[in-house]
Amino acid sequence: MPMLFRTLIVGALIASGSLMAQEAVKPLVPLEVNPALSELGKRLFYDPRLSGDTSLSCSSCHQADKAFTDGKAMSQAYSGGAHFRNAPTLANVGYRAAWLHDGKLGTNLNDVAREMITETFLMNMDMRVMQERFKQDPVYVEMFKAAGYSEPSNGGARKALQAFLKTIVSRNAPIDTGALSDAAQRGQDIFLGKGQCASCHTGERYTDDMPHNTGVPNNPDIWSDPARHSVFVAYAKFMGVENYMNLREDLGAYVRTHREETKRSFLTPSLRELTYTAPYMHNGMIATLEDVVEFYNEGGGEDVNKDSALTPLGLSAGEKDDLVAFLQALSGDSFAIEAYVWPDADYGYRVIENWRDANN
């Protein structure tokens, strides 16, 4: 009910003039962080010792050259498993109101970092081991000091990861610099008007941060691979979903609401950096931006809970091309630069000398 109401309001705003909505979209203002803290966070982000068996770092599934995604339909997971959803971009992650495709985390980035590190099918890290690993690494000992901590700690590590995540902000997209091509400008009009994309893709990040059901088909690969399916089962079980052993669909936001009408609804994704983040949708079921536009042109997929705002759009081939051009103009500079990449695999331990006398 609230969702429908909001959709109507947004729709009314759009109908009243595309300029109004257009003006709402401005370049993202970088978030303020302590540079020493975010530098520490950057090193942590690339450190595989944040996973239990030291096989995965944050960057395993969030790769800078892919706008911090991994290019796969569904991401990898901890050893022995595989994930059942697409790795989301971390571009502008600090501005989000909720995280994970189903919106399970609605608090803050601290909880996001904790969840990724400790979740058994993600990094499966006992953070008590993690803290002691950091204390044994002389680079961390110095970096935590520089960031204002007397020694490495789990809380400090999560704060540092948050600081680094907040620095991942889109830069120099044509939509921000004003360098839109003619096609992109025509596409923008379609985006705001006939395409009704801005019903949900609003604001600087082009998302309302709300769950919607668009009828994206389930990805059958979840259930054909026991490694992936077993992770799916563990998640559904943990989230209290009934009859999880016979479940053969991703229930999305339902896992936290347990309300029938939210089944298979997923948070509206940001549209920034799309050119780096294929394939698309929460389960990677749509390979290209052209296919995404075609999906919406047909009114989305089939689902009893599908958002009523989704109807066939009747876009011409040219209009679809223009819309794709606009979507591409929402992508800026690559993140594969020094500011976002830890250059050295300098992850070592040192022995604490005179250990028996050390106050460690």
Binding site: G52, F121, N124, R128
Partner: protein, 374 residues
């Protein structure tokens, strides 16, 4: 009381030194009978067979890589033949791996007795951060994808889907079959005078007499299951292995000690973790001496390499560690001659029978799970 008993035992041995052969059996020792079976987890052949598969299956770990058998290897005395057990990948362990053989008889498991049953020990090991590092929901989910397990759990436990608690029960049932009750010592105690050599019989005399081993190593298990600090030196890897330093602090942190202790303690406090009594620091459960021929090195941290070294350690009156004031007064220099120590070692060897090396079971694999018709 304890001292009186020791004196009497000593007198008996001295008085019988020449005539012990073929006659004396110390009353504090006995052959090993069948293990106790808990009423809530009875043995069945099907349950044992399931437990055997699970014992060898890395499915019960975080990374699908660490089975029970990874650190309790049949060809290494069902333990690990190095000071410290293997840790989960990316870590090292911090204590010596104990043999599974005859673990069924202990009232409490782990070196400081932190588990009250084999069932709960299996769970702790599967989940521990430097052991299996698994999570119950995830491991249980994986079991459901193995057709052979679905069938076995249904038959043995009546499970619709494998229940992780039942996995630990099956493993415990399997472990209760890994016993050895027919060592030369057992045969001797049952009346076969020729089961022990003359040297071994002399060793038994020292064990029960001058060596005073029997003060703690008594009963059919040759353990009174009490806790003592012998002054075993700390694990030397803590001095030069950063992984060992990491794990040591993790254990202090995870098991809950004061910050002062977390920062300054440099040896395993053992029983203290359970009781939080200062007087329990450095105490560990008396181990059974059975099957020790295969379970070197010795002590809770593997710091003593051979049985002969162990005997010499005791002959010297034990050692010294950080918790010296808790060292038991039962440990005193023994004044054994080289020959007596040889005899004692020979006797200790009679506490191990044939090596137990069953064929490895076939481990079934996870398979796709078709949707049920319901």
């Amino acid at each position: 009381m304890k001292r009186t008993k020791t004196l009497i035992a000593g007198l008996v041995v001295i008085g019988a030194a020449t005539s012990l052969v073929g006659s004396e059996r110390p009353s504090q020792l006995a052959p090993l009978g069948p293990p106790p079976i808990p009423a809530d987890n009875p043995q069945t052949p099907e349950k044992v067979a399931l437990g055997e598969m699970l014992f060898f299956d890395p499915i019960l770990s975080g990374n699908l890589g660490m089975a029970c058998s990874s650190c309790h290897m049949p060809d290494s005395g069902w333990s690990v033949q190095s000071k410290i057990s293997f840790g989960y990948p990316g870590t090292t362990h911090w204590r010596n791996s104990q043999t599974i053989i005859n673990s069924a008889y202990y009232g409490k498991l782990f070196l400081a007795g932190s588990s009250k049953s084999l069932e709960s020990q299996a769970r702790s090991a599967a989940r521990g951060g430097v052991a299996g590092n698994g999570e119950d929901d995830m491991m249980e989910a994986r079991l459901a994808f193995v057709p052979e397990y679905r069938e076995a759990f249904a038959m043995v436990f009546g499970d619709d889907w494998p229940n992780i608690r039942h996995a630990y029960m099956a493993i415990a049932a399997y472990e209760r079959t890994l016993v050895q009750t027919d060592t030369p010592f057992d045969d001797y105690m049952r009346g076969d005078d020729n089961a022990l050599s003359e040297q071994q019989q002399r060793g038994l005399g020292i064990f029960a007499g001058k060596g005073n081993c029997i003060a703690c190593h008594n009963g059919p298990l040759l353990s009174n299951e009490a806790y003592y600090n012998l002054g075993v030196p700390p694990y030397d890897g803590w001095d030069d292995d950063p992984f060992a330093q990491i794990t040591f602090r993790f254990e202090l942190y995870a098991k809950g000690v004061t910050e002062a202790m977390y920062r300054s303690t440099k040896d395993d406090p053992g029983l203290y973790f359970r009781t939080k009594q200062e007087t329990d620091k450095g105490k560990f459960r008396v181990p059974s001496l059975r099957y020790t021929q295969y379970t070197y090195p010795y002590m809770h941290n593997g710091m003593i390499e051979t049985l002969r070294d162990v005997v010499e350690f005791y002959n010297d009156g034990g050692g010294e560690n950080e918790f010296a004031k808790n060292k038991t007064a039962l440990i005193q220099p023994l004044g054994l001659t080289d020959g007596e120590m040889d005899d004692l070692v020979a006797f200790l060897e009679s506490l191990s029978g044939e090596e137990i090396l069953p064929p490895f079971p076939d481990i079934p694999e996870m398979q796709p799970l078709p949707a049920a018709s319901n």
